[in-house]
């Protein structure tokens, strides 16, 4: 008996990445990529996160056991960490990249501004796994450097992206935060695509959403906003160290979890299901 050829399914992460790429391609962003095994230099030092600084605790890291670093300290957690010697003598340890930000550095080293890139990629965090946390997941990095790129530009780009991604008018809210590689640093909240009224009050500074609908919304718990991304204006020292004069060029960087965005949009309830090779998930897309 002849079976009709049924079309297979792409993994939902692929679908989401494709969607993201399409939207950003229209905005003029190039897709860049980089290695998943990174050096400590690109993952931390070049991003203004030096060794032995508590900022390193913001990313729980998988370190590689490599034979090539003879002069490194080993602390009680068993990491290979480097001393802080002058750059010429620095040997960088290897790790699994904790964010896609190192690709910013790699790209800026090879390409002069103006720059518009996104980096979808797999990242790794040493974190206990549960329904919303996995040791491996996908992140999207964005970087835009030019003469007059400001926080206002960043807000605009993200609003266009979220609006196209969720197919409705979306708004973005910035809250003060900190990452060593941006200044100012911010957390990005996007308007709750489930309950949010289209006209978000600019004056709504984190109180209850106006709608009764917002008050009971299971997704945003009545905040009207969902925390999604970290972002900010690229720190002048980061630009400086890749040979870009921070007085002439400036811009923003942002990063968010693709898995999280996927789970929000499609209602997938467990992030671990994305990586156990189970077609019962994949065939739903």
């Amino acid at each position: 008996m002849v079976q009709p050829k049924e079309r297979g399914h792409l993994h939902p992460i692929t679908h989401v990445i494709n969607d993201i790429v399409r939207i950003f391609d229209e905005l003029g962003f190039t897709v860049a990529d980089g290695p998943e095994v990174e050096t400590e230099h690109y993952n931390f030092d070049a991003l203004n996160v030096p060794p032995n600084h508590p900022a390193r605790d913001m990313w729980d890291t998988f370190w590689l056991k490599t034979p090539i670093h003879a002069d490194l300290d080993t602390d009680s957690r068993g990491y290979n960490i480097s001393e802080n010697p002058p750059k010429s003598q620095r040997k960088s340890a290897l790790l699994l990249r904790t964010h896609t930000s190192p690709v910013q550095i790699r790209y800026m080293e090879k390409n002069a501004p103006p720059i518009s890139i996104i980096v979808p990629g797999k990242v790794f965090r040493y974190e206990a796994t549960d329904a919303t946390h996995e040791a491996q997941f996908y992140q999207l990095e964005g970087l835009m450097i030019d003469k007059d790129i400001t926080l206002a530009t960043m807000k605009g780009v993200l609003e266009v992206f979220f609006s196209k991604f969720f197919k409705k008018e979306m708004h973005v809210r910035l809250r003060p935060s900190y990452f060593p590689f941006v200044e100012p640093g911010a957390e990005i909240d996007m308007s709750c695509f489930k309950c949010s009224p289209v006209k978000i009050l600019e004056q709504n500074l984190g109180g209850q959403g106006q709608d009764n609908e917002a008050k009971t919304c299971g997704l945003c718990k009545g905040n009207g906003y969902i925390e999604l991304a970290g972002a900010g204006m690229v720190h002048p020292v980061v630009l400086n160290n890749v040979g870009i004069d921070p007085r002439k060029w400036q811009g923003f960087a942002f990063g968010f979890g693709i898995d999280r965005l996927l789970m929000l949009k499609y209602g997938v309830d467990d992030i671990r299901k994305l990586y156990d090779g189970d077609l019962r998930l994949v065939t739903q897309f």
Partner: protein, 793 residues
């Protein structure tokens, strides 16, 4: 960081706002709130203090300051009057700090004849509110002082220390290899020379900044104590803490770095509390022995309104910025003409001695070298320039001698050996070459006059440029641009290390830090999003992504579905130093291992998926000793009607056709076919445009963890009956537990059609029993049979 509202209220005369309002203020203007809970009549805020605000906000003092800024409610004016006085103590304290790089300040005070007892209720409540245990009044006071000021303290039992007559010596030194320490919580530590300890003349008493030792522990019999309020260098503290595996509230504050200025605040606070409720009528409070060799100069950072607007994308006015600086409580001045300010103050430093490598933070304005002098002058005008001579040379804009004006910089290559001639920039745009090198500079004052400092003369001097021996070999003139507007010069509050420059550590103290302060108070919600600029050139196409999508599409059209599996496995060539699990110690060297497992699982679920043959693929990175590359693996379940080899061959053909290339790799006759994706595409042409398939609209249906059950049903129906008619009835009767209803057989016989369906049942709540399934099947059968001329087989 847990903060008690009741405790915060003691900093203010006016009543504070409601907790929700305080939450909102901090969340939108300062930092994140991780939690908020009510305990009794108190509200406890749990603030997420990141490293940038750990310098000043790991204590109620700092949070109160911040709350005052955000809410506008003024802090209580500081009451300066002490209720106790310093007296002569029987014992004498001597403090020796052997390593002043690792210990930046050590303040010690003897208090004699105290009474160790329970703390008063109000203190116990304060500590317990923020999750701390009350031990005794001495320990509680040191903890209270820390959670108030952000400065850790420690107390030693003086009588347990080695004495020389009445003299007690405390030595801050590196431990010696082989020394040991037993901590207050009975942990045995082996010390080495990388660790800083507080010791008496005989042995270590405490791990500096981290944990006290048992030998000098304060207990209920303690009569005399030494109070320590000190400041330890962050990297040393963190490294030692990691080595011995001890993390404490004290260690946390030091590793994030705090200003040594806090030491006296904590000492003052603690002493007042001792005097209040830990004293006897014989108590004697000694003077503070304070070792504080290097005190930081006030740090100035400047910004113009244009610079603020340029970074944030706002349209603030000078008044807006001034209002915000006042709200922040920053000391500031407005300098209309920064260059004029530089020229105005330069002559004040004539005669100041030369010191090579002089620090701007600590040595200026008592000592300068040629570059620190210039950098200092500009910093006082709110302009940051690089610290090193050659960097300043690269930083400035090149001008001709004819365009030289007062305030410009003149660079020379003196060749005097004591000066280090550099040929390449160091910190500013590192690696920019200056042929011939540069090693000196001066500030042009006009009228052929130049002011500079040189080792040869030994101090800052003014001379005629063309008569100066140091400027015989001028290699260039430079102008500092972008500073012709009025600047706000802010003197950074001493606790705000995040706004100061620390060249050997995280770089901060640029105008961007100040702009962030201004921006967050202004309110990010006031920044209107601007339309993204139109892309003036087409973005490059990512080759890997493009071809990966082509291959994905090709395989999906052949019925393959995509999986993604874990990169960490139980076997491989690249091993992790700190794996999370035994079976995830290696990075995968191929996709085969895991996709094989995925195939097995999916074969088991095939009925639920409604497929006969499982065809899956993965595209992902694999790792070997030589590096990583992108691999592609196909897995097909064995099927008599559709042999694996044929499926692989079909896939290979399709891929070769669509890519117009030849795949060198031969697929196997069975099992998994894996090939190097990078090698495949390396010779392929650069793509012109993406071809991105449509994304689906889908709502995810949760996957049940309970097993599914299979039932088949076949029914004869009159000729001409559509299969969907039969399907509809089956689905209606079977209900929501029916997951799949697939036709697998159809034939005609004697004017009747036989339809046969595979049914798959599954519940989200339990494993379905045979009885339950039979009941459903009976319902379906009855309903089908009830239709005229329909007969279930």
């Amino acid at each position: 960081m847990k903060i008690s509202l009741n405790w915060l209220q003691t900093y203010f005369d006016k009543p504070l706002s409601e907790p929700e309002e305080i939450s909102r203020l901090f969340t939108m203007r300062a930092f994140e709130l991780e939690g908020i809970e009510t305990i009794g009549n108190d509200t406890i805020f749990d603030f997420k203090i990141l490293p940038n605000r750990a310098h000043d906000c790991l204590g109620h003092d700092g949070i109160a300051r911040e709350l005052s800024v955000l809410s506008g409610i003024p802090l209580k004016s500081k009451v300066k009057s002490r209720k106790w006085k310093v007296e002569n103590t029987k014992h004498e304290l001597k403090i020796v700090v052997e390593n002043q790089n690792l210990c930046r300040r050590y303040a010690g005070r003897i208090i004699e004849n105290i009474s160790v007892a329970e703390s008063p209720d109000w203190l116990k409540r304060r500590l317990e509110a923020i999750g701390q245990r009350s031990i005794n009044n001495v320990v509680d006071i040191t903890n209270y002082a820390m959670f108030a000021t952000g400065q850790p303290m420690h107390a030693f039992d003086l009588d347990k220390l080695a004495k020389n007559g009445n003299e007690v010596e405390i030595i801050v030194r590196a431990a010696k290899s082989g020394e040991k320490l037993v901590t207050l919580d009975e942990k045995d530590i082996s010390l080495d020379e990388t660790m800083l300890v507080i010791a008496d003349s005989e042995k270590p008493l405490a791990l500096a900044g981290i944990k006290g030792g048992k030998w000098a522990e304060v207990d209920e019999n303690t009569k005399n104590i030494i109070l320590e309020s000190a400041n330890f260098e962050p990297i040393g503290v963190r490294k030692t803490s990691q080595k011995v595996g001890i993390r404490t509230d004290s260690e946390k504050r030091f590793e994030n770095e705090i200003t040594p200025e806090l030491a006296e605040r904590a000492m003052e606070k603690a002493t007042a509390l001792f005097s209040e409720f830990a004293r006897t009528d014989k108590t004697k409070i000694g003077e503070v022995f304070d070792v504080y060799p290097r005190k930081r100069n006030p740090y100035k950072v400047g910004v113009s309104v244009s610079e603020v607007n340029k970074l944030l994308g706002t349209k603030m006015t000078e008044e807006d910025v001034e209002k915000i600086l006042r709200q922040l409580g920053f000391e500031y001045e407005i300098v209309e003409n920064p260059i004029a300010r530089v020229l105005e103050i330069a002559p004040k430093y004539l005669g100041v001695p030369y010191k090579y490598g002089a620090s701007i933070s600590f040595d200026a304005p008592e000592f300068f070298d040629c570059a620190s002098f210039i950098a200092y002058l500009f910093s006082q005008a709110g302009v940051q320039i690089p610290r090193i001579c050659i960097d300043q040379y690269i930083y400035g804009e090149n001008i001709n001698k004819d365009d030289l004006r007062p305030g410009d910089l003149v660079f020379a290559a003196t060749g005097i050996t004591k000066h280090i001639t550099r040929y390449e920039s160091v910190e500013f745009l590192p690696g920019v070459k200056v042929s011939g090198g540069v090693d000196h500079l001066g500030l042009y004052l006009g009228n052929n006059e130049i002011i500079h400092t040189t080792e040869k003369v030994g101090n800052v001097l003014k001379e005629k440029m063309d008569e100066s021996p140091t400027f015989k070999n001028i290699i260039g003139f430079r102008k500092i641009y972008g500073i012709d507007e009025p600047r706000f010069i802010v003197t950074v509050p001493i606790e705000r290390l995040d706004l100061m420059s620390k060249r050997s550590f995280l770089v901060s103290g640029n105008k961007e830090d100040l702009i962030e302060e201004i921006g967050r108070i202004y309110g990010y919600e006031k920044i209107s999003s601007s339309t993204p600029p139109k892309a003036d050139k087409k973005p490059e196409i990512n080759k890997t992504l493009y071809y990966a999508n082509i291959i994905r599409e090709t395989l999906v059209n052949l019925g393959f579905s995509e999986v993604m599996t874990y990169a960490l496995t139980s076997d491989g060539e690249v091993e992790l130093q700190n794996p999370m699990a035994e079976d995830k110690k290696f990075l995968r060297k191929e996709l085969t291992l895991r996709i094989e497992k995925s195939l097995e699982t999916n074969v088991k679920n095939a009925p639920l998926l409604g497929i006969e043959q499982v065809k899956i693929f993965e595209i992902g990175k694999v790792f070997s000793k030589d590096g990583e590359h992108t691999s592609c693996a196909l897995a097909v379940s064995a099927q008599k009607k559709s042999p694996t080899a044929a499926v692989f061959a079909e896939a290979k053909q399709a891929i070769e056709k669509i890519l117009n290339t030849h795949l060198a790799v031969q697929p196997p006759s069975g099992g998994i076919w894996e090939f190097n994706f990078d090698e495949l595409i390396i010779k392929l042409p650069e793509p012109a445009r993406y071809e991105i398939p449509e994304t689906p609209t889908a709502v995810f249906k949760p996957i049940s963890m309970y097993p599914f059950a299979l039932r088949d049903i076949a029914v004869f129906v009159p000729s001409g009956t559509d299969e969907n008619e039969v399907k509809k009835i089956i689905e209606r009767e079977a209900g929501e537990l029916l997951m799949r209803n697939d036709l697998f057989d159809k034939f005609e016989k004697s004017g009747k059609i036989s339809y046969a369906f595979h049914l798959v049942f599954q519940s989200h709540e339990k494993t379905l029993s045979d009885e339950e399934l039979n009941e459903i099947m009976n319902k379906v059968t009855d309903s089908l049979n009830s239709k005229k001329s329909w007969q279930v087989r």
